[in-house]
């Protein structure tokens, strides 16, 4: 804490009266400070100022007196004076706001730089030190042991936040969205943690600032550039189980008017096979490269920033179809490339307003090939190509210490190509245009209270326009106690397949059309004589809507003792208009034509508690617990009506009640984490444990829900340990690290393919 000192503005005025009194006003930087405490020094006598900052206090004694004026968020002030008999002493007290010096600043919650403890929504920060200490190499490593977060396996490693599947969390790199999802999952293993200063995770909806996908949360990968006069170069290699290697070389330089950082990272694995009895590995062999450059230059008062990244992955696996003599083996190869470019210019217009203009372009392509091993023929191929371009302007107006306004707007253009996203009847490839505008105002009437209101409007070419508001409050009754509350909305745009898919399954004969392709797709099938019967008039359908939520988040944190912080929180998300397929026509082959509709409603709600303690300077401990309910409304209603039944493994039927409901698949009702890190001289040990209770993964008894014991993945405890030792060299430093993930060798077979059992690694890093 740095306290700034300046002399109180003090005015002593005399007035004639029979009993002596002191009265006055309390302000800071010209604005009244409400509800400050005014106390006579060395006594219990005192009063509180009103909302306008005025107070009045009778003085019991004649002559000199001393007042202590204090208010949350301000430096306490001692004022001395003297009163004659019957005199009313008038004071104008000026308080100084406390200036907090902290490294923990975040940008994701409000799109402005803000101290972590001043953010009114649940937010977690993983620092570069944390990442190094735990030996994280990919983003999944950084997030897997955080309270309330779970990794999921579905076409890549996804992230579950507040009980939502991974398609509901937005992943950003320096504030811009990383594109490229498969079946809704943005594979966290695609993203190296090299070059990151920190990872910020905001829980609860942030669509009022970021738009689509920020329904469950936002993860922002924040890079940094060195300060002027600093230079750094380093290299790190790591090798571990299953031939997994990670190597990074990086260099950075900071000068008076410019700075730059560049790195290249290679990540590779031989994969592994959990089912050696059958052909084909569970996780295939792959090699992944990432190159990244960040630049910053001052141009007069303006600042120009440039970020660029390119990655590529090659993957080689195999699988077989059929069995015995009919078995046919296939090579499965995949190639992924993606890049992004992000120039940004910040220009201060005057002392109050600053304008940031950013352009962002990204492209993500994949190629998948299945080749018959026997005759070399191509069995299946799928290409996908996504392009994303955005232009955005944001203005930050810091009116005074109490009012900050952010307004912005922009346009987004997205283009798709690929086997499942063919051009429409007029020959146009799927493309979408979007315009958006957002505004946020932060108002801090006093250190006690901070209010943040924001809203965003999104108009999209292919789904209904929407307005997304959010309001959050932060209340600080004392420096050690913080309450936060927010109510807001989140949304997720219909996925590409839900808008643009035009797909007929050759094997089964059914067809699926995205919302923009339904009419022409049906017309084409009808012209070919393939439609037996239409169920509905598709021309009458309303435009498809984004899936949307209303969410409440409440929390409190208290610094109980120096070095001991307790946090509790709760969340409740009510989600509507979830998109599902329904048949819209019958084909002459007996199969159906499916389209997408806004149908389902779910809710997720939960309670979090965590304790962080630093009993010794070198020892840090934290523990957390989460209770989660993630449920489908329709199923809850049916269970309450008693219309759901199940079958035991002997096929006997019985009726279910709400208590039999295992919730949405993949959600554990209970989870806990434990972290400890201890530093002794140059050596640091980091122990991380996480436990989740059982969660449903399948329905075997034909009621669509997880209720039977064999429909659950058993409770899973995982413990990771990393030990790091640093050495000072004549020039530079060396860091050696060994670690074991999943120390106690927990596995769940093919139910959790990302859990191969205990793995070990060792790494060496050298830095100048």
């Amino acid at each position: 804490m740095i306290a700034r000192h300046c002399l109180p503005l003090l005015a002593l005025l005399a007035a004639a009266a029979s009993a002596q009194t002191v009265e006055g006003t309390i302000a800071s930087e010209g604005a009244p400070v409400p509800f400050a405490t005014v106390r006579l020094a060395e006594t219990e006598r005192g009063t509180a100022a009103d909302a306008e900052g005025t107070f009045r206090l009778a003085l019991p004694e004649l002559g000199p007196f001393a007042l202590i004026v204090s208010a949350v968020g301000y430096e306490p002030l001692r004022i001395e004076g003297a009163a004659a008999e019957g005199e009313t002493v008038r004071l104008a007290v000026a308080l100084d706001a406390v200036t907090v010096e902290t490294d923990d600043v975040v940008v994701t919650a409000t799109r402005t730089v803000k101290a972590l403890e001043d953010v009114a929504v649940p937010i977690t920060v993983v620092s570069a030190d944390d990442l190094r200490q735990q030996g994280a190499v990919r983003l999944s490593d950084a997030l897997e042991s955080l309270p309330g977060l779970f990794l999921s396996d579905d076409h890549g490693t996804g992230l579950q936040v507040q009980g939502f599947a991974s398609d509901y969390t937005l992943i950003l790199l320096d504030g811009e969205p990383i594109v490229g999802r498969t079946a809704g999952t943005l594979d966290l293993d695609r993203l190296t943690v090299a070059g990151l200063e920190r990872v910020e995770i905001v829980e609860g909806p942030s669509s009022s600032l970021y738009g689509s996908e920020a329904l469950a949360g936002v993860v922002n990968l924040v890079t940094s550039l060195p300060a002027a006069g600093r230079e750094h170069a380093g290299a790190r290699v790591r090798a571990g189980s299953y031939g997994t290697t990670d190597a990074t070389a990086e260099a950075s330089i900071g000068r008076e008017n410019w700075s730059a950082r560049a790195f290249v990272n290679r990540f590779a694995s031989d994969g592994y096979d959990l089912t050696p009895e059958s052909f084909g590995a569970t996780v295939p062999t792959y090699t992944d490269w990432t190159g990244d450059v960040r630049l910053q230059a001052r141009l007069g008062a303006a600042t120009l920033r440039l970020g660029g990244r390119a990655t590529t992955q090659d993957q080689q696996g195999g699988f077989s179809l059929g069995s015995g003599e009919l078995e046919t083996r296939y090579d499965d190869t995949g190639k992924r490339t993606d890049w992004s470019l992000h120039p940004e210019l910040t220009v201060p217009l005057n002392e109050t307003v600053r304008v940031t203009t950013s352009l962002y372009g990204a492209r993500y392509t994949t190629e998948t090939r299945y080749v018959n091993q026997t005759d070399g023929s191509l069995y299946y191929s799928d290409d996908f190509d996504q392009r994303y371009a955005k232009a955005e302007v944001q203005a930050d107006a810091l009116w005074n210490a109490r009012n900050l306004t952010v307004v912005g707007g922009g346009v987004i253009d997205e283009r798709l190509a690929g086997d499942r996203y063919s051009p429409d009847a007029s020959g146009a490839a799927p493309s979408a245009q979007q315009v958006f505008a957002f505004a946020q105002h932060e108002w801090a009437p006093s250190r006690l209270l901070e209010v943040n209101a924001s809203a965003r409007f999104d108009a999209h070419s292919d789904y209904a326009a929407r307005l997304t508001p959010k309001l959050s409050l932060l209340v600080r009754p004392s420096e050690a106690l913080r309450f936060r509350a927010s109510v807001g909305s989140g949304f997720k745009a219909p996925a590409f397949r839900q808008l643009y898919l035009s797909f007929t399954n050759a094997a089964a004969g059914y067809s699926v059309f995205g919302a923009t392709r339904l009419e022409e797709g049906l017309a084409e099938l009808e012209a070919q004589g393939q439609i037996a019967q239409r169920y509905i008039d598709v021309a009458e359908l309303d435009a498809i809507q984004a899936e949307n939520s209303v969410a409440f988040n409440l929390g409190a944190s208290a610094d109980v003792l120096p070095g001991l912080t307790v946090e509790v929180g709760g969340f409740w998300n009510e989600v509507r208009d979830l998109i599902e397929t329904q048949p819209v026509a019958q084909k002459t082959n007996g199969q159906q034509v499916f389209a997408y509709f806004n149908l389902a409603e779910i809710y997720t709600r939960g309670l979090d508690a965590s304790v962080t303690a630093r009993p010794l300077a070198d020892l840090e401990l934290s523990a957390s617990y989460q209770f989660l309910q993630a449920r489908d409304r329709e199923i809850v209603d049916a269970l309450n009506e008693g219309t759901v039944s199940g079958r035991d493994p002997d096929n006997r039927e019985y009726r279910l009640s709400l208590s039999d409901y295992g919730g949405l698949f993949g959600r554990s009702p209970h989870s806990a984490t434990l972290r400890a890190s201890y530093t002794l001289a140059e050596t640091t040990a980091s122990l991380r444990g996480r436990w989740r209770s059982r969660y449903g993964y399948a329905d075997f008894d034909g009621n669509g829900i997880a209720n039977r014991d064999d429909e659950f993945v058993a409770a899973t405890p995982i413990v990771d340990l990393t030990i790091t030792r640093e050495f000072a060299l004549p020039t530079g430093r060396l860091a050696a690290q060994v670690g074991a993930d999943n120390l106690f060798d927990t596995t769940r077979g093919t139910l959790v393919p990302s859990l191969p059992g205990r793995t070990v690694f060792a790494s060496l890093g050298f830095s100048l």
Partner: protein, 237 residues
Amino acid sequence: MNRIALVALVGALALTACDSGGPDTEIVNLEATVVTDLPADPTSGRDPETGVPFSNNLFTLYDLDAGEVVLSSDDTDDRSDSLGTAWDIGFQGTTIIFNSGTSGPGTVQAQLLENTLFAELTTAPADGYLQDGENTCPGAAFPGGTSAGSPYVICTGGGNGWYNYDSSQNLITPLSGRTVVLQTSEGNYAKVRILSYYQGNPNPPDPMAPTRYYTFEYVLQPDGTRDFATTEVEIED
């Protein structure tokens, strides 16, 4: 035919005192017959070029009264028995048909009861029966209404008829609480419950097991009444 195993569940016979003068009869509990691994047009591999599965595209037709297969989906030569009234229920893939209406020359009347446990259904409903082609299926629920689906008595599609389809596991499981009730062409009432779609009736169901093999159980009341609990049979000396 020889692939069909008819398994009568072992149950205790409930004997009653016989009248001295009348015919020698007794009241016995009706027992469920379990039919295992009835082929319903199973696939024999895939076209390596297109991935389309090979199958005969034919139904297996079953006579509940006689407890036997009338025509298997494997019988490709002579399908003339499909034009008769002996068969009651037919299976091809996930589609189930009855011998009446748009599906056959018979007079089968059937309905699919929801939220009805097979064991708890002791009496067939008096009404509510349909023939194939007469049904209104929950085709599409969309904002603003619901439209008609296929007209089969047992609606097609996951969640609509007898089964649930879990795309993440690629698994077809019979919906619990759904019981088929029908009156055969011979006028007998029967209740039917599908137990498995996979060969060998694996439990838990195994999506890797060969599909299109039905295991189902049924209770047939041979006396024409709607009672599924007991029936009167003659005692054989």
